[in-house]
Symmetry: C2
Subunit: 571 residues, 2 copies
């Protein structure tokens, strides 16, 4: 959905149907609006418009994290200049710092941006200043007076959704959380189509980079405003994402990710000046980009491990990040391996007729009444349904399987006579909510095609996880952790009902919410976690599914639902 | 003089007179051309149009400098990527480097700009690459194949003239020298008027910075083209200048330099990413800005000391940089002190009726025939006179003093009857060249006002130097070194004749040409010279003339020429 200026074409019939009042506020559907010449498209910040749900610190991530940032603030009174001997502004500041620091203050570096502001900062508060020193080596900020608070922002850059967490680096407190759709969606819904765009268009990579950077800057601006600070007050950032998102943010050509052997441009984590990425925080601030593992296992997967601490656990743990690219890690403190499998966008509501992200009005859970098969739909925010999100889709499929509406093959049961099961324009479909109950002026349905998308997605995840478990040789998982936007909302029994994961007994399955984002926060807050991430990325083995025949076998054998009788239900 | 597009106003009478054929090539005088709205003004590169004279390595600077750059080039063959284990492009490069480097290659940093190019560079030459490593710590360039040459550029940023020296960092060879007028002249002829501009106009500092950066970039482009390389091949730069020029280049607000106690924003030398200054060299290349001493003793003065090695000498040495701000250093290996004195622009031809820079057609030396007082004028390039440069002015004054045309007071001798001595629109004037001999369609003269400007300038230098000598307490200078654009062309006997410097016996005076530029080259070529510069700037004492009553006395007593009889000449 896009918000546009006056001068927009009149709404189409579909837009009128789907957008309602928003039409008059200048919204249009991106897919329905031809761009005439150069156009500016603004995507609404989802959190503003839909109350997008994000977990900041799920209970499952129990690690009590002590903030230990790589930045410190020092307040000093700098002597005023005298005629002779002539001592420059910076040198007087360093002398004053020498009295409070246990380090050779003369060795401190300072970015040109800090030095350019310094003469004014010194004189705007009678030579009383606060400087922010990074890694005991570099002055990254100089502020008039005694403003000592340090802020940081962590980003989880997903293919579909980008989340930003604004943190107080000293207390560890989360001051604001904001998210937005990844505006790169304009160039392709998934990673591969965006890589293709970057290869086909001369300016493609520049467009993709600009889109995500602009998104991070908008999130930063809004989150800063929430917290009552300025973006310039933010002195450090951290961003995790899959390898393609990482490359786009970095401006690294992702074309080599698209063909075997899928080499990334770099792996090790590194800290760069944030402005070299176009990020509008403190001009001398840094962005930390944690390590990647492979072309399709990114820093988001490493961040999930950091957040869940599975590398410290005795228990064989299966960690699944249910994004468009399912990244799967299996292991314990002895051994770990990971793989990536292209699940497609179904788990994020993509390619699903009424699919949507986990935002207000999305059906997130669904129950059928035994016998009548009447539907009880739980939506996010308790609002009237406007669509269905990933966890809702799994919940709906699970319930339809339990009551025999969906067969093992993934087909709707042709023998079932029920007003909700009917032929629609894409074949059979099941009505999740009747038009009068919804906020979209139409029946919200789940189609046969939706079910097929879901089966493909779950088969890919199931096969990848099965292969990892087979190959690692530490036995079956003692626990399964589900990360990703939907991970926390998938009921364990629903995941089990659709056979999402091998050996997925519901008691062992736990949602850990946006573990990648939480891991990013940990690495932002505590710089020793950056070394941890580095060690994890070196320790973990990588399994390339493309090279494994066994993966194809497992994938094909996973293209079925478990049978209804497994659950003791019947229609 | 500016070169402009068609659409320019018709030439004024003065322009017609002064510019001749250049009028038709689209040149106008900046001082005569009102700008209507936003205008683009291009200054000719002086070295192209006038054959501006620059010394690269004057004989007096005898130090044989061994290149010892802080950069090294390594040629490696990087293994191609494989499916498993996945090793990214950078990490394979670092592994390959580990085999040829005696350092932990994993610790090497690389700028985002290098990493962005790396995947293409690797694949454009079958994984055969050359990397440039700086300080054994950072990869600043990656090039396909075996291109191992390293280039650097050193700048002397003068108030009036900017000179760039393109060097081969491995052989030490000077590949090209280019100069240009400092385009900041559009905002004021001298340092103070430019500082005033930066204070009065909101965008003043930005304009001044952009002007000098643009100038450096144009010099870089032309010098690179001379040497048959690309600006991107230049991996390191060094720039010296007076403190105000340093601050403008840096984008540091110079307003505090304009009022006591004249504090600079910083003093210590430092290396910064060149792109953070807008300099178009290798995107990850650095610029080194050597230390400053005070608000009016800049890195150019430090560079002069480095170049002349006076800090190693037993001999008390007086070093004078004859710019618009005369920077003076006195001392030997035991003790050194410096001061700055506002000489005004006379030594660079400024505020002089027919004054000009040391370029083709400038009178640089003048002799009178005994008795007839006929003039023999030597011009740069042997062309017909178009004006007079600083050394020409000193030479002319010296000769006029010798023959009693100028009196000790600085007035023309009213008793002298000669066709060349006449009353002009500014009072008395002496004709240096008659109209038919010149290329400007007018008599070239030296006016009473010109003489006054020269006396003020020399009195300032004389007083500053005298005070330094008095205060340092190491006796009289054993040698006098004259640096600056004109320094090399001032005949020792002429300097003595006008009493330019205290105790200025001609046998002790030596021109050392553009010692500041040469010092910049030394610090570019040999990074240990940067430590030397730092030690010099700490060792050297600074004398603030504004705080010294004695300076005023010396200045006033210096407002006379030595008497003609001192030289045994008469008219």
């Amino acid at each position: 959905m896009e918000q546009a200026e006056p001068g927009l074409p009149p709404p189409t019939e579909k837009e009128g149907r789907l957008l309602g009042d928003l039409i008059h506020k200048g919204y249009r559907l991106a897919c329905e609006t031809p761009a005439s010449g150069a156009s500016e498209v603004r995507f609404p910040l989802a959190s503003r418009h839909h109350g997008h749900v994000i977990l900041t610190a799920p209970a499952a991530l129990s690690a009590a994290l002590k903030p230990r940032p790589n930045l410190e603030a020092y307040e000093v009174i700098v002597p005023e200049p005298v005629l002779a001997p002539p001592v420059a502004d910076r040198e007087r500041l360093l002398q004053a710092l020498g009295n409070v620091l246990a380090l050779k203050s003369r060795r401190l570096q300072a970015d040109p941006s800090v030095l350019r502001r310094l003469p004014h900062v010194l004189r705007s508060a009678n030579h009383h200043v606060t400087v922010v020193i990074r890694n005991r080596r570099e002055i990254v900020d100089a502020r008039p007076g005694g403003r000592q608070r340090l802020y940081g922002i962590a980003f989880d850059v997903g293919t579909t959704t980008v989340v930003g967490y604004l943190l107080d680096l000293q207390s560890g407190e989360t001051l604001a959380v904001r998210s937005a759709l990844n505006p790169q969606a304009a160039y392709g819904a998934d990673v591969i189509s965006r890589i293709t765009h970057s290869m086909k268009q001369a300016a493609g990579l520049v467009q993709l980079q600009a889109a995500v950077v602009d998104c991070l800057n908008r999130i930063t601006a809004v989150a800063s405003s929430d917290a009552g600070i300025a973006p310039d007050d933010i002195v450090e950032a951290c961003a995790v994402g899959n390898t393609a998102m990482h490359h786009f943010l970095f401006g690294l050509d992702p074309r080599y990710l698209a063909a075997a052997p899928y080499p990334a441009a770099l792996q090790r984590g590194q800290e760069f000046r944030a402005r070299d990425f176009g990020l509008n925080i403190c001009p001398a601030g840094y962005i930390y980009l944690p390590p990647l593992k492979a072309g399709f296992v990114g820093s988001d997967a490493i961040a999930c491990v950091v957040a869940t601490r599975m590398h410290h656990s005795r228990l064989p743990t299966l960690l699944v990040d249910l994004g468009t690219n399912g990244e799967i890690v299996y292991g314990n403190r002895e051994k770990m391996a990971c793989c990536s499998t292209a699940a497609g966008p179904a788990f994020e509501g993509g390619h699903i007729r009424w699919g949507m992200r986990a935002a207000n009005g999305a059906i997130e859970r669904l129950r059928l009444s035994p016998g009548s098969l009447e539907v009880e739909a739980v939506t996010i925010g308790g609002q009237r349904p406007v669509g269905i999100c990933g966890s809702g889709l799994i919940s709906a499929a699970a319930e339809l399987i339990r009551y025999g509406v969906l067969l093992q093959t993934g087909s709707f049961n042709p023998k079932l006579q029920h007003p909700r099961l009917r032929r629609g324009r894409d074949g059979w479909e099941f009505v999740l909510a009747w038009e009068p109950e919804t906020d979209v002026g139409e029946d919200v349905v789940m189609t046969q095609k939706d079910v097929s998308e879901l089966i493909m997605a779950k088969a890919a995840i199931h096969a990848g996880a099965s292969l990892l478990i087979e190959q690692l040789g530490i036995g079956s998982p003692a626990r399964i952790l589900m990360a990703g936007a939907g991970g926390n909302y998938i009921a364990p029994q629903d995941a089990a009902a659709i056979g999402l994961l091998p050996g997925c007994g519901q008691e062992r399955l736990q949602g850990v919410g946006n573990a990648a984002g939480y891991g990013a926060c940990m690495m932002l807050l505590n710089s020793s976690m950056r070394g941890t991430a580095e060690r994890i990325s070196r320790r973990i083995d990588y399994l390339e599914l493309a090279a494994e025949k066994r993966f194809q076998e497992l994938f094909v054998s996973g293209m079925f639902f478990p049978s209804a009788s497994d659950y003791g239900n019947e229609f």
